[in-house]
Symmetry: D2
């Protein structure tokens, strides 16, 4: 295995940044579901580059073509495959990189792993561009989850040192999730947007980049969804989130803050609310023993600053085994976090739909 | 799937806290490896309960019996199964729990998932006791990795608000790892031990518990190990770490700290050291694009405070759907972090051996 | 993977002929099912050796111990593990075999695969004895299938040149299946028993062995069960049947006879019977495109003659790379087919339960 | 899972007979292999329809487009995806079939499985057309195996009642395999071709079809390849062969003939030939205990007669639940066996390459 994920749902992502096309196959989707193509396209637009000053100027239409899996516009039980043509590639930008790996990218380990046969152009199979087919699959999963009463949404929790307000971990509604995902710059506290954007532009002005954190929530997952141990929801969600380029940390609920908590603080006491079992706090992020407890599922993903920066960096020539410096050309995002928001939603949706089927 | 993990190595963990036995099957181990049973037993002893004032007083010999997979003391290609008898169980302690779930435990979601048919005694399949067979498998993996030039070790990075010194992420030696794992209380900065222990005893004195962080490192993993996307090392390691009870967060290298870094800080520049490609810093924790870059692999796991505490807590009666309070009896660790250290090592070892085969 | 099977149900079989124990773990069984242990033991007795003149004189109680997966006698959602102690082993019988492989056994390829580290005693992991844990898992699956309205039964279709009558492929009832499985020598045409037994005894008298064919049927599988392509019922059933030692051929419905049929003969026309869609013939053995069509599922497995025979055979010394002759000592079945009948039922049951969950 | 296969190699096949395209993704191919596109196209031509009087008149160029997985014409480690456009479709031919299932096809079970949402046109995902992408993947596998010293070839062993000579199971050379696969009508005994073709034309003349058997061999697989039990070579090969539409039986070596053999006949005695361990006969088809013994691997697949025939057949109306008759229009093969020969080779190649990696 490698670029395939899932149990009941099997997701296979293929493509390189500059190959003729990239795409995704999803096997195991329930049959008879009519995909709302307009909403899917709107979802993909949230990830698409070239929209504003905070992202790369590479423009891609990113319109998926559905090769199969549909009949009369609805899923038909057969595997669904969608591809996106790669049209706006500039392979010339990357000529030097096969020999001189970019710091922070997969160039070097890929070259070792595949003995120099890897596709170095645009990061090859490791390119952030591969999150586009992930979003195609995830966008469909989001629609299917909605039909099952599950809403998923994410926001920018942090960029550089600027923090957004967190989700209300106990009283979180589908409406709140929907409203934040409809924002051009998805933050809960609108006052956080300006300083975050300023931090991005400041980095950009110095040919540098900044990182951040995306917080994602799912409401409506029934208690009992998930499996113990290695197929726990945390294991499944983390496995797909760490497959998203630039994610370096994943935490659920209070996450790393649990370290300094007492058990009496961290435990979420049970209460009865409207005739249902709920918890009064949600430090466990809706998951206990790998299984949903019916509370909102809360996960945070740390996104490292885009490794492609314009500043001259130290690197090496692999062929000559000597040190040299490198300036990365090409068009890059000074901060990938805003575009990562729908990607994280897509990944979480795929993990949860797989667990619910 | 559920309690099975791995690609080339398949690990299946079975058992409940109070079932006749618990155990593990590992399929795919290379043949012809002679397990050092003494060292394995020493490794298991690090996880065993009842050793000191910081852990539960439940004592278990935890001596694995090998049912198969060995021939003349060496692995023989067939699946290896080891079991540990459950001898010191007090099921009476848990009688109330099937109806009144303990906050912070899997009791409630398990009851919903399995419609009341779950084994509630001692946490059933969700008990921390299941980390014993994980350590049997992991202890073997550690020995096999050592033969391949890989050393793995972990330390207590934090308990309550007390921090240990971090690993040197660039110049980390197998010797350092070995020496910390040989300590009764594995911290790098011995001065951190006393305040950590004081924090545990303070919690214990209040019938409460505390959490912490374990930092684990692997040195000697060659560049190129791992696979892209969903089988990246980060995905594989996170999937198994989140299967360890109480883990609520996982981060690699600088992890969540990346959020506030600039790309120029976070990127690890390449250098030539002793004729080999290395990086001058190691914010990526030895992994880029899911693949090892030859630097130490660094991962941190957040461990929540033991949910079993003696303080009276709010809960509910599932049968009567009404609120009630609960006092958890039984013998519990006021802090699971010291005993989690070898568990995290075992989990990381299994993930890495699987990726190297 | 290797000794693990299944999608929603995961079956892991472990053990060697002469290791301390053999066993099976089944993960994914529905919770809350009370296993009828008496019936399970009766089922296992059908496979057990030492019952009559047609089988090996090695006697094993073959009583499974359930280590976990049960709570109050019912499945509890956690993986179920059962082991069988190996008590009646005579390793001395096999001393020569590590160097001089028995024709028709896995001795030689196992020695090459595992570089001489394999367990040669009693065939190691390749022993027919490993079908005992398969029958434990399959016996449970049979009970669970019965609850779902599915009955499975098999009979000896052929031994040597003696044929039994075939199942009625269209009008086959659960009652017929039950009655044949209750026979000490399971044939449909009782007149076939005597000549089959004579053929076995004749072979035994010459220190030789004979092969045969087992035909297995399942009634009550609803149309629509199964998945396309690689997870078709035929692929799943064949994969587990070929894991049974000595199976060398698998066919569904008319199987190899289809080769000489016309389409107009082989196609099964649809009819309405009692308000349900049925087929008038059943040359496809109840499976089309990998998916059940609601008719009885019919599969036949060819069983080669037991390779362990008392006649002197040509072999080689692996250490000296020279030819030598070999006489296989030990206690062996002159015909494995009667004991294979419940094994085939167990394997088919596991494949079908996995597909139905 | 469903339309995905393999362990180290993951093969995902997608598409429907009349969807915009069909295709295949292969993940896990070794990097740095330059695919000989001309030879691949020649291989695909052997499966392509419309070549002569024995096959359907539907013509498809069947030229795969490689979307990704290649860099400078060689595999680059990333998943390889190839698609084939569906250009020559006549959906109108199939309008009636959604309600009135064709006998012998998957129409009915697919309609039940997917509650009427299946794509009925041209058999949808169950169409024999899906063997085209299987052949793309298999054709690449054949080239990679050749580089590893493995040759695979198949011939028509039987059509209707006409038999070809079998492969020499002991002294089989790569040259023999190559020469038979180069024939327009691949039989070993050229005298068998004319009566086979006559049988096909006779069936065609009566708007009927005939079945047959394909025998496939692999030489050069080293002893030790394969895994025990469920990942035995027989299990792996059978699982992929039964995924090929119309395959109803699979046997290895003497297969079903073993049933009437004595052990002393069926066992393959070991001999030393040219300093290597070989067997004097090959009734086990090169596989013992699921593992290659170094002899030629021999497998036979029974192919049922094409279910699409022009003769009026009994069927039912699913919507009205009443019996009716059906005449299948469209362009169909009177015998699929000749075109199945490369498909069987492709499937065996994928199973064996997966086992060798």
């Amino acid at each position: 295995m490698a670029s395939m994920y899932g149990n009941k749902l099997k997701i296979s992502i293929f493509g390189q940044s500059h190959s003729p096309a990239i795409g995704v196959t999803v096997d195991g989707l329930p049959a008879g579901f009519s995909i709302d193509m307009d909403r899917l396209q709107q979802f993909l637009a949230r990830r698409a580059p070239g929209q504003n000053a905070y992202s790369t100027t590479r423009k891609e239409a990113d319109v998926p073509q559905f090769l199969c899996g549909l009949y009369n516009g609805a899923t038909c039980g057969a595997p669904l495959t969608a591809i996106i043509q790669n049209t706006n590639t500039r392979s010339g930008d990357y000529a030097e990189l096969a020999d001189c790996p970019r710091p922070g990218h997969a160039d070097y380990p890929a070259a070792v792993k595949w003995s120099g046969h890897q596709d170095p152009t645009g990061g090859g199979h490791f390119s952030g561009r591969l999150t586009a087919p992930l979003c195609v699959a995830g966008g469909i999963a989001l629609q299917m989850l909605e039909e099952r009463g599950v809403a998923i949404g994410a926001h920018i929790a942090q960029i550089a040192d600027v923090n957004d307000a967190p989700f209300d971990s106990v009283n979180l509604s589908a409406k709140t999730l929907r409203s934040v995902t409809e924002k051009a710059f998805p933050v809960l506290d609108d006052g956080a947007a300006a300083p975050m954007q300023a931090a991005i532009l400041a980095a950009r002005g110095e040919a540098d980049s900044v990182g951040g954190i995306v917080e994602c929530a799912a409401v409506g997952i029934p208690a009992g969804v998930g499996d113990p141990m290695f197929d726990g929801l945390e294991s499944r969600i983390a496995a797909i989130l760490f497959a998203v380029p630039a994610v370096k940390g994943v935490e659920f609920g209070a996450g790393f803050s649990c370290a300094s908590m007492r058990g009496s603080q961290c435990n979420d006491p049970y209460v009865i609310r409207d005739g249902a079992v709920r918890t009064a706090s949600n430090n466990n992020g809706g998951i206990l023993g790998g299984i949903a407890n019916g509370m909102p599922i809360l996960v945070r993903a740390a996104i490292k600053p885009t490794p492609s920066i314009g500043i001259r960096q130290d690197s090496v020539s692999l062929s000559r085994m000597e040190e040299k410096t490198l300036v990365v050309h090409g068009r890059h995002d000074p901060c990938i976090v805003p575009r990562a928001v729908p990607v994280i939603e897509a990944a979480v949706a795929l993990a949860l739909l797989d667990a619910m089927l």
